[in-house]
């Protein structure tokens, strides 16, 4: 038999609902003491494959070997017993529990005393360089602290095979670096680690080997040292691609959207935005960077009138938006395609088709008692054609579409209303390379039309390449507005952690 692989998958097949083949004879090998990056576009079957290893799904064909023995993983308990621990993209933590209690859920044996538990956690933490307060409640934690708890959970159960599903999606560059240091330490202790990610630079930095999936099939497994980002992209997409993001030069028009001294108090009396001032010019993309929860959501909602603000002003050219209803603001040409944590939450009605979602923005414009669906249907057809939206039809509920297509529907509808200001938040979150570039092109197109685009983003590389200027938020304060052309990722990272920019450099 083969040498002792931590995990070996042979010919794994998973078919959903009898027709959608998510995994088609996938092979995968993972050794102890290595970090394997699993790379692939959306819908390439990465998460499906990992869910089979962690007991969420069951394979329809093929065999899984763990430590050289054939296994059947029917539930998360089975996976746990085999030493496989998964750190899910969306944290699976109980908010009202302390870190300690979260770690204790589902473990075997009696409930340990607080002191013993604390001791055990400290022991593991110090071994791998993790920092966490065992008594801190999850709801008081930052994203990166929550992730640390997830990792501890897995280590506490003695897992030596770790699967991380897009762990860096929510982290700042500094936090990512810290995480990578921890992962490397775990690898050096002989643990086997699989990391799922879209980000090629991270693959290059952290992994020893890369396995690439495309459309549910395993395409290649290569040693990281023998490849580069371009080759990996080609493997992933299946044809050569241009990785650079366009940043067209445009004529800027001053003062399209002017925000000055904006302060917003949140539901719990916390200051969510403190004295925020900036301007978005026509024909420019202003990026907004910041750790999740730094006030991005409040900023979007204040501008569009969804939440009231007590101080400051928001001006669209010469019109003051303060005190106007979201409906009035929308009709003035401020369009928002806000994508909250779940894509379908605020923008679209998930159970309605594309046509009906178009109608949401136009139904009140037609006079009379009845709704005319014809123009909306035409618009839906036009969008499907122009943006190459993949859907079985205009009446298919949008929740059944893939993430990239949902995003195209949402953005397409907003753009169709010919806005003067376009606000997008996390427009490419969770999208694969092809869809992401389609969205970037859409934004650039609007920019060239002279629209003022405010783009809340999370991938700093993308922000730096796409935007003209970048505003950095930290705890609701603007810590800097920088020119994207001559700023580095590290500088942005520092601003995101609250180290303010020198006064002189602030005027770019």
């Amino acid at each position: 038999m083969s040498e002792q692989y931590a995990i070996e998958c042979r010919g794994i097949t998973k078919i959903f609902g009898g027709k959608v083949t998510a995994n088609d004879h996938v092979d995968l090998q993972l050794k102890f003491g290595e970090i394997l990056a699993l790379l692939g576009e959306n819908g390439s079957g990465k998460t499906t494959l990992m869910n089979m290893l962690s007991g969420i799904y069951r394979p329809d064909g093929g065999t899984i070997f763990v430590r050289g023995e054939e296994v059947f993983i029917n539930s998360p308990v089975d996976a746990m017993n085999l030493g496989i621990g998964m750190i899910h993209q969306h944290f699976k933590l109980v908010n009202v529990f302390s870190a300690m209690d979260n770690i204790a859920i589902g473990t075997k044996g009696r409930r340990l005393s607080t002191a013993k538990m604390r001791e055990k956690i400290r022991e593991i933490s110090s071994r791998f360089g993790l920092e966490v307060d065992p008594d801190k409640k999850i709801y008081d934690m930052s994203v990166s602290e929550k992730q640390t708890v997830e990792i501890l959970k897995v280590l506490y159960r003695g897992s030596d095979i770790l699967i991380l599903d897009e762990p860096t999606a929510v982290l700042t560059p500094q936090e990512t670096e810290k995480l990578f240091a921890i992962l490397k330490k775990m690898r050096d202790e002989g643990k086997a680690i699989i990391i799922i990610t879209h980000k090629l630079n991270e693959v290059m930095e952290i992994s020893d080997r890369v396995s690439v999936l495309r459309k549910g099939k395993s395409v290649a497994s290569v040693n990281t040292a023998e490849t580069d980002e371009l080759k990996l992209t080609e493997l992933m997409v299946g044809h050569s691609v241009d990785l650079s993001i366009r940043r067209p030069e445009t004529d800027k028009k001053d003062g399209v959207l002017k925000v000055s001294g904006l302060s917003v108090t949140g539901a719990e009396g916390m200051k969510m935005l403190k004295d925020v001032s900036f301007e978005v010019k026509g024909g420019e993309i202003l990026g907004v960077a910041g750790v999740a929860g730094s006030g991005q959501k409040e900023l979007c909602e204040a501008i569009t009138g969804l939440i009231p603000f007590e101080q400051g002003s928001v001006k669209l050219e010469d019109t003051e938006l303060k005190g106007k209803s979201p409906f009035e603001i929308l009709n003035l040409g401020v369009s928002i395609s806000f994508v909250p944590e779940d894509r379908l939450g605020m923008g679209l009605v998930s159970s309605m088709g594309i046509t009906d979602n178009m109608l949401l923005r136009t139904y009140y414009k037609t006079p009379g008692l009845f709704i005319d669906r014809k123009p909306a249907k035409e618009m839906a057809d036009k969008l499907i054609d122009r943006l190459q939206i993949l859907t079985p039809g205009t009446e298919t509920p949008v929740r059944l579409l893939s993430g990239g297509n949902v995003q195209k529907v949402l953005l397409g509808r907003e753009i169709e209303s010919a806005p003067r200001v376009l606000i997008t938040a996390y427009a490419v979150r969770g999208l694969d390379i092809n869809s992401s570039y389609a969205i970037y092109d859409l934004l650039n197109e609007q920019k060239e039309k002279g629209v003022a685009v405010l783009n809340i983003g999370e991938d700093l590389d993308v922000l730096l390449a796409l935007c003209d200027r970048i505003l950095v938020l930290c705890h609701g304060e603007v810590t800097g507005i920088v020119d994207a052309k001559n700023t580095t990722k590290e500088q942005l990272g520092l601003l995101m952690t609250g180290i303010k920019q020198e006064k002189e450099a602030a005027h770019v």
Binding site: S54, I56, Y57, M80, K92, V96, F97, I105, R111
Partner: protein, 318 residues
């Protein structure tokens, strides 16, 4: 002095069926299932307890029947909501309507068959439900009256509450159960058998509600059958769960406070304070409404409803 002792004793007795209903509903909500069928499950417990007692003359069998019928109602609810993932509110309301309806149908049927036009439990059983008397302890003035001379139900309810509190706070299984109510996906990923624990908790919770229902007919009505014997107590219990902030120990004194409100009208001197009886009948509901407002305004995270309460969990949901 005597007045206060009598008042407190009466409040405790009046609060006991509420305590059972509340504990049962806490068990439901702690695994994330908002079960509005408490009134129905209590009704089922009342008719089953009464009829089995009536036919067999056996107190223990009557209690078991009350528990099992409440549990059976809860089992239907569990199948519908846990396995088939129906809406909790609709399923619960249906259970309430069904439970009350079935109970009254059976009650009317037997009432029609009886010669005297009334149904009364045999002496043998009423004897056993009487207040206990412990030689020495029960005779202590005041303390004996306050602590050692209740009917067996009162002690059973308190023991249930304490056991449930110990389960939640001291055992690993209890921690797992709370985790299910807060975030079933997290519990599932951590290796907790979500579905199994939901069934166990919902069904036992229903059984406890059933015992509460039996109390209303056996103690409150002295073993004489009347229709609609539960009379809205199940709804107060649902509210009491909020009052108790989902903690069994709080349910004990919460139930007794609400019990006091139920009997207040008999202890107020009508010569001095002229308020219609209807006001006192309304009092528990008024207090519940106020509590709901206060709780939702305060928004203390640790004292809030279990986060996943009212939602169904499907592992492969995306």
């Amino acid at each position: 002095m005597n007045f206060w002792v009598n008042f407190i004793v009466a409040a405790v007795v009046a609060g006991t069926p509420l305590l059972f209903g509340t504990l049962g509903e806490i068990m439901n909500e702690r695994v994330g299932h908002l079960n509005l069928g408490v009134e129905g499950m209590m009704s089922l417990g009342a008719i089953a307890g009464f009829m089995v007692g009536y036919k067999t003359d056996n107190f223990a069998l009557a209690m078991i029947a009350a528990f099992l019928s409440g549990a059976a109602g809860a089992l239907v609810y569990a199948v519908v909501t846990v396995t088939f993932m129906a809406n909790h509110t609709v399923a619960g309301l249906t259970l309430t309507i069904f439970g009350i309806g079935l109970t009254n149908v059976i009650g009317f049927h037997y009432l029609g068959m009886s010669e005297s036009g009334t149904l009364k439990l045999p002496e043998q059983i009423t004897q056993q439900m009487r207040s206990i008397h412990i030689e020495g302890l029960s005779d202590i003035p005041v303390i004996g009256d306050l602590l050692f001379q209740y009917n067996p139900f009162v002690y059973l309810g308190i023991v249930f509450a304490i056991l449930l509190a110990l389960f939640y706070n001291r055992t690993k299984a209890g921690l797992n159960v709370i985790a299910i109510g807060e975030n079933p996906a997290a519990a599932d990923a951590a290796g907790v058998h979500v579905t199994a624990w939901k069934y166990v908790n919902i069904v036992i919770g229903g059984g406890i509600c059933g015992i509460g229902g039996a109390f209303t007919i056996m103690i409150t009505n002295g073993g004489v059958w009347i229709s609609d014997c539960v009379g809205g107590l199940g709804w107060i219990a649902v509210a009491l769960v909020i009052f108790a902030t989902w903690k069994p120990m709080n349910a004990i004194w919460g139930a007794f406070v609400f019990g006091a409100m139920r009997i207040l009208k008999y202890y107020v001197n009508k010569e001095i304070i002229h308020i219609p009886d209807a006001f006192y009948d309304m009092l528990p509901f008024l207090v519940t409404a106020i509590i709901l407002v206060v709780v939702s305004v305060r928004q203390v995270k640790d004292k809030a409803q279990p986060a996943a309460c009212g939602t169904n969990y499907f592992r492969e949901d995306r």
